[in-house]
Symmetry: C2
Subunit: 294 residues, 2 copies
Amino acid sequence: MAGNIDREGYLIAPDPTAARLTRAVEGVDHDGNRTEIRVVEERPLTIFLNAQEIVTAMTIGDYPEYLALGFLRNQGMLAPGETVRGVDYDEELETVVVRTDGQTSYEEKLRKKTRTSGCAVGTVFGDMMEGLEGVTLPALEVKTSELYALAHRINRTPSLYLEAGAIHGTVLCQGARPLVYMEDVGRHNAVDKIAGWMFSEGVSAGDKLLYTTGRLTSEMVIKTAMMGIPVLASRSGFTAWGVEIARQVGLTLIGRMRGRRFVCLAGEERLLRDADPASVEEEGPKHRRKGAEG
Amino acid sequence: MAGNIDREGYLIAPDPTAARLTRAVEGVDHDGNRTEIRVVEERPLTIFLNAQEIVTAMTIGDYPEYLALGFLRNQGMLAPGETVRGVDYDEELETVVVRTDGQTSYEEKLRKKTRTSGCAVGTVFGDMMEGLEGVTLPALEVKTSELYALAHRINRTPSLYLEAGAIHGTVLCQGARPLVYMEDVGRHNAVDKIAGWMFSEGVSAGDKLLYTTGRLTSEMVIKTAMMGIPVLASRSGFTAWGVEIARQVGLTLIGRMRGRRFVCLAGEERLLRDADPASVEEEGPKHRRKGAEG
């Protein structure tokens, strides 16, 4: 299977052979025959910011440091210029502690909040919307030839999805090149791992495109905009609020990408139509995603 | 389209014509033509338990009262026998307040928690696992003829999914009959709305089956078990932890249900094979779910 698949060019690609990420489970099929299938792992990971417990995420468990950094970054709990003193992952305790110099704005907010209602759950979302206020995205041109090339390459990259299903993928791309391909049981985790990688490596966002297998909900659009990435593309559909926020922040939003078809609901004036859709191959059944709904 | 579709027997079915739940959005397609597509709405809903703000959920916005009750119930914040004095939905403020007599166990836990770390986010998951300790599910027999009949009927029921895509469905079933079909942008919301309906109506759980379009993650398995429902079936795949928890609590777990095919990874001894898979129609392209990944 790996023979005719192009993995060149990726900085990080899925490792479907990693023993820690999938497990063989026995059961029976519709005909009553014993069967063994590979299923993805799912583990709790508790993220701390300094002494503060923030959240417990359910994750496949690869790249916990990137997940923690990206989650905190995308929630606006780490400012872009924030100095991270250390990121300590403890596999046994299933924790990641992100250490910063001094107090973050999150801790300030939390103190205020605990005085009024005692809990910060409800503030997380409001804070994300607040974080968008200053965001302006560069007007990056998107060539349709690059969109088609990306979808073609990503669908053919060996992945946990092709191995075990029931997982989401998100890919950071530049032009026609997929750079970092993360997978996770929650699509938000896959995006957060990319955000953590970008934060760690100091990677620029303004010339990138984010591709996801998941739906274009408000959460996905907000995270992409918080990361400073001006284009978000998906094989799945839209929600109304996702579209609205994309238009507000100037994000190009492309959905329902399957074979030659796609729909662009925001930023269409930045699409450069340099490919003839009629020349693009339709998706074969092998590359349709069937198992990752949800 | 509605002509040949059987909606009989449902107590609650999706209303794809409800104006409040979808919106027409304009954009361009791959050929550069103007196009208008219907997309699902997504709104914040903040849930309060008495004076305590608990969470802000993103939802399509139907059945907010059931969503709030079901969320609190599935998180173990409302005990089965708890007296709910009132459920007040405020459409303008986008809030639901659930009022109980006296203090709930959640408020007790929260007070303890805020003293140590100031935040309850991380405890929600731990509390859910704790809630499973006393759960034993009845050994309900599942006829494969009923599984096939349910999948066939649910796939042909008019829904927001068929209308606009990008949404998850969960259906409470009894025997071969789908009873309550809820949809939402998050699959956990769809399940919580069913839990809220069951709690409100005092519906028994031990003779029911839950069908979902989403993946069989630990969260889905835990919610189903917390609801006392002994069978969970899905057209999507599994996670390893979801399977493990199902086996622990005695839940029958069936996944990858498409046409005649399915895989049972827990509780297979309770399957009664009264249907010949070879006589079951394969799914036509029209009934394959394509847009709800994520």
